[in-house]
């Protein structure tokens, strides 16, 4: 909030309205108050009733500190501010504009100053808005740590923001994970700033390798990903991603692997189109108290390459807080994978797996579903449902500070992953089999912690209720990751 300020005297001047009185007021005001004592508008709003809906007009917008950023993209971002009708509007719009400028990824801190307009063309209600921007340096970099799905990694990255002055950037990233997964990627990002909706085009090449000891193989990917992200409503609630991915994947056998997995070893080429659509109205990513998330993704592989399938996935999460001390959360995930032709293979890397401390709790990573010789083979359909009840820590230690990072939760989760042939005929019974047979279920409780507002750490004690003989169960689980059920 701290960066939006209005100079107190401006307010009064606006309120007074008449330009002839202005000089008087100005002189009567303490000059130091005028120049130095900036007042936080929101505090002001609480303390004293100020008519924010006072008519005002934006005469001029200054953007200070532009060096290599091109004018046209800045213009596209700020023009909406001219539409503001009153002072309140101006503030709201100024915020939005600041967000948009920030989204360009070209600037460090952005400050907003609002002043009455001066000069020959100034209108009586006119104000001037000044954005103080700080362009980033040509090359930035850093080393950071990240937590991914049950793994911590070190990331070394370098970024060249605002390459040609229109928000283009080039970034390189190398990460090395604690489970010896490595990831090198280089991407070019080009935002297209329209008037209201903007699109971001990202092209990246990557080289990753991951081990999946639960399935007995490791995977090495080299690929190209082109992603077009846009939000049609401009608010960031509804988001679409259109992606094209071409990946050369190599499945490498580990020493002891089931022959069924071994049969799938070797190189393959996946060329896929993907559409991800998400509506996210939650108030927070990790511990939301209200709102829901619906995400639907469709992937079609088989435009070239030797891998062909259609994959649909649905993720739903909804939150409800009847009382300050209790938040209910329901999460649901499901997916379906189908082949498209007999010539195109489906690799084990494309299959669905279930189980893990942030997935279906109570089971080891990839711990349920079809297995052979201790290797998880995955299935082509799955569903998982979890119901959580969150409460703050008892006696609320560290309230409003450190203590708010932790929550206790009790949960019950269930799901199933299997191979089945989907029949589109009205074979209701056959198709519902996955919801009826071999359903896994576990209850438990534990402590959850949020980590930098993107990751989540959980320590749980779980008791599996329903399981199958092959499943790998875990009673104590520690999980860390970005996605959770």
């Amino acid at each position: 909030m701290g960066t939006v300020h209005a100079k107190e005297s401006n307010m009064f001047r606006n309120i007074n309205g008449s330009s002839s009185n202005e000089k008087e007021n100005f002189k009567e005001d303490n000059p130091s108050l005028h120049f130095h004592e900036k007042m936080n508008l929101l505090e002001r709003k609480k303390g004293q009733a100020v008519d924010l809906h006072l008519k005002a007009r934006v005469d001029r917008i200054h953007v200070d500190g532009l060096i290599r950023t091109k004018d046209d993209i800045i213009k596209a971002q700020v023009t909406e501010l001219f539409k503001a009708q009153d002072f309140y509007d101006i503030i709201i719009h100024a915020y939005k504009v600041r967000e948009k400028l920030q989204d360009l990824g070209c600037f460090g801190n952005i400050g907003i100053y609002i002043d009455t307009s001066h000069g020959p063309h100034a209108t009586p209600e006119g104000v001037e808005v000044t954005f103080m921007v700080n362009e980033m340096r040509r090359l930035t970099g850093g080393i950071s740590t990240m937590v991914g799905n049950n793994e911590g990694s070190v990331i070394v990255q370098a970024k060249a923001p605002n390459l040609f002055g229109r928000g283009e950037r080039l970034q390189m990233e190398y990460s090395y994970g604690s489970k010896s997964s490595t990831n090198i990627s280089m991407s070019v990002v080009k935002p297209f700033m329209g008037s209201s909706r903007h699109k971001i085009l990202t092209g990246s090449v990557f080289n990753t390798s991951n081990r999946f000891p639960w399935s007995g193989f490791s995977q090495c990917d080299k690929g190209l990903l082109i992603d077009l992200a846009f939000n049609p409503d401009g608010t960031g609630i509804l988001k679409h991603n259109l992606q094209y991915e071409a990946t050369y994947r190599e499945i490498i056998s580990s020493k002891q692997m089931s022959f069924r997995v071994r049969e799938q070893c070797g190189p393959n080429l996946k060329s896929a189109l993907r559409h991800i659509c998400s509506i996210d109205k939650r108030d927070s990513l990790i511990f939301p108290t209200t709102g829901s998330l619906v995400q639907f993704s469709t992937e079609v592989a088989g435009l070239g390459g030797d891998i062909g399938f259609v994959k649909n996935e649905l993720t739903v999460q909804t939150n409800w807080t009847p009382h300050e001390y209790a938040t209910f959360q329901m999460g649901f995930q499901s997916g379906l994978l189908r082949g498209i032709s007999n010539d195109m293979k489906i690799n084990i890397a494309d299959q669905f797996f279930l189980g893990g401390p942030l997935n279906l709790r109570g089971f080891d990573m990839r711990g349920c579903g079809p297995r052979l010789d201790g290797n998880s083979l995955g299935g082509n359909a799955y569903w998982a449902l979890a119901l959580h009840l969150y409460t703050p820590l008892p006696f609320r230690p560290g309230r409003h500070s450190f203590g708010d990072l932790f929550k206790l939760h009790g949960f019950i989760n269930g799901g199933n992953v299997s191979n089945f042939t989907f029949k589109f005929a009205n074979d209701y019974k056959e198709n519902m089999k996955i919801f009826k047979e071999d359903v896994r279920c576990a209850v438990g409780g534990g402590i959850a912690m949020k980590f930098g507002n993107i990751a989540r750490v959980e320590l749980n004690l779980v008791m599996p209720l329903l399981f199958v003989r092959n499943d790998v169960l875990q009673q104590f689980q520690f999980g860390i990751g970005l996605q959770y059920l």
């Binding site: 190599e250 056998s253 002891q256 022959f259 049969e263 070893c265 393959n268 390459g305 010789d373």
Partner: protein, 307 residues
């Protein structure tokens, strides 16, 4: 370093517990469109060896056989829960099960045999690799097409490039990369002369009964001499070199007749190309990129699938 030894001894013990004989499945690349010369030679050698041992086996062609193999080389056999790749390891494995072709030989003869095996592995495999991956004509006209045949565009080009790089690196280390085709042919000729002299008038290398060497030599001679006449001239040159040795061809056709029941080499004795059943089969290639395999007992690498 104790770990591999321990693993070996565990494997040995487990091996002993496996009931025998088990059904053997032999995995190899597709013969008609994919396999390249060195791999073809190895696959034929293993097939001949298993037949000589009187073991039944099934051939299972897989396009990714090379990647499925625990050592990255073809062929490999699956026997119960074990996967064994490479000629030498397979021989050792079968030997541990009590079926051996060279038990009756004296220690001297065995040592000789090992020497010949290593000679064949050294010379023939490198020559085959050279022809497939270094000789430009063959590389472009045959190897790239065959090796890439099972992969989609553009993956085929990438994998061909990768494979070539790998082979060249290996040949470079062994000092073969800078040889000319003539030199390669000379090496082959020398090797053939040595084998031919050893063979003299007998049916097999160690007298009346075939041994591992016979299987291995059969594989290579068969693969090399049966090259399709439509293939590039450079390959024909090697073929011509091999065909200067009627004793080896006879030996190969004898094994073919007696153990593999095929007539592939029937006419080869007349120094003619036989374009019979296996017209296309001749080329095999794959991952035989391997230096001379060590001959010691602990050289075998057996993959324990799951006890």
């Amino acid at each position: 370093m104790p770990y591999p030894l321990l693993a070996d001894s565990i494997t040995l013990e487990l091996e002993a517990q496996e009931p025998w004989p088990q059904l053997i499945t032999l995995y190899q690349p597709y013969e008609v469109e994919q396999i390249l010369l060195p791999d073809n030679a190895n696959c034929l050698a293993v097939q001949a060896f298993l037949k000589m041992c009187g073991l039944d086996f099934q051939i299972e062609p897989r396009s990714n056989a090379e990647y499925m193999s625990p050592s990255g080389r073809v062929p490999f056999i699956k026997c119960g829960q074990f996967l064994i790749s490479d000629f030498d390891s397979i021989v050792t494995f079968i030997g541990n099960k009590g079926t051996s072709l060279s038990d009756h030989l004296s220690a001297n003869c065995k040592a000789d045999m090992r020497a010949y095996i290593s000679l064949v592995n050294n010379i023939f495999i490198n020559a085959e690799l050279y022809i497939c991956w270094v000789d430009e004509t063959t590389l472009n006209e045959v190897t790239k097409i065959r090796h890439g045949s099972v992969y989609p565009w553009p993956l085929n080009h990438y994998l061909n490039w990768q494979k070539r790089k790998e082979v060249i690196k290996k040949l470079n280390v062994l000092g073969w990369y800078n040889k000319t085709l003539e030199e390669v042919c000379n090496e082959v000729q020398n090797c053939c002369t040595a084998l031919s002299e050893r063979l003299e008038g007998s049916d097999y290398f160690s007298g009346e009964k075939p041994t591992e060497v016979d299987a291995l030599v059969y594989g290579h001679i068969c693969a090399l001499s049966m090259i399709n006449p439509s293939l590039p001239r450079t390959v024909q040159k090697i073929t011509a070199t091999v065909q200067e040795f009627p004793k080896l061809l006879e030996h190969a056709s004898r094994i073919g007749r007696n153990y593999l029941n095929n007539c592939m080499l029937e006419s080869a004795c007349d120094f003619e190309m036989c374009a019979s059943s296996s017209k296309e089969t001749l080329w095999n290639y794959s991952e035989s990129i391997e230096a001379l395999p060590p001959l010691s007992e602990d050289s075998f690498e057996i993959l324990l699938l799951n006890p």
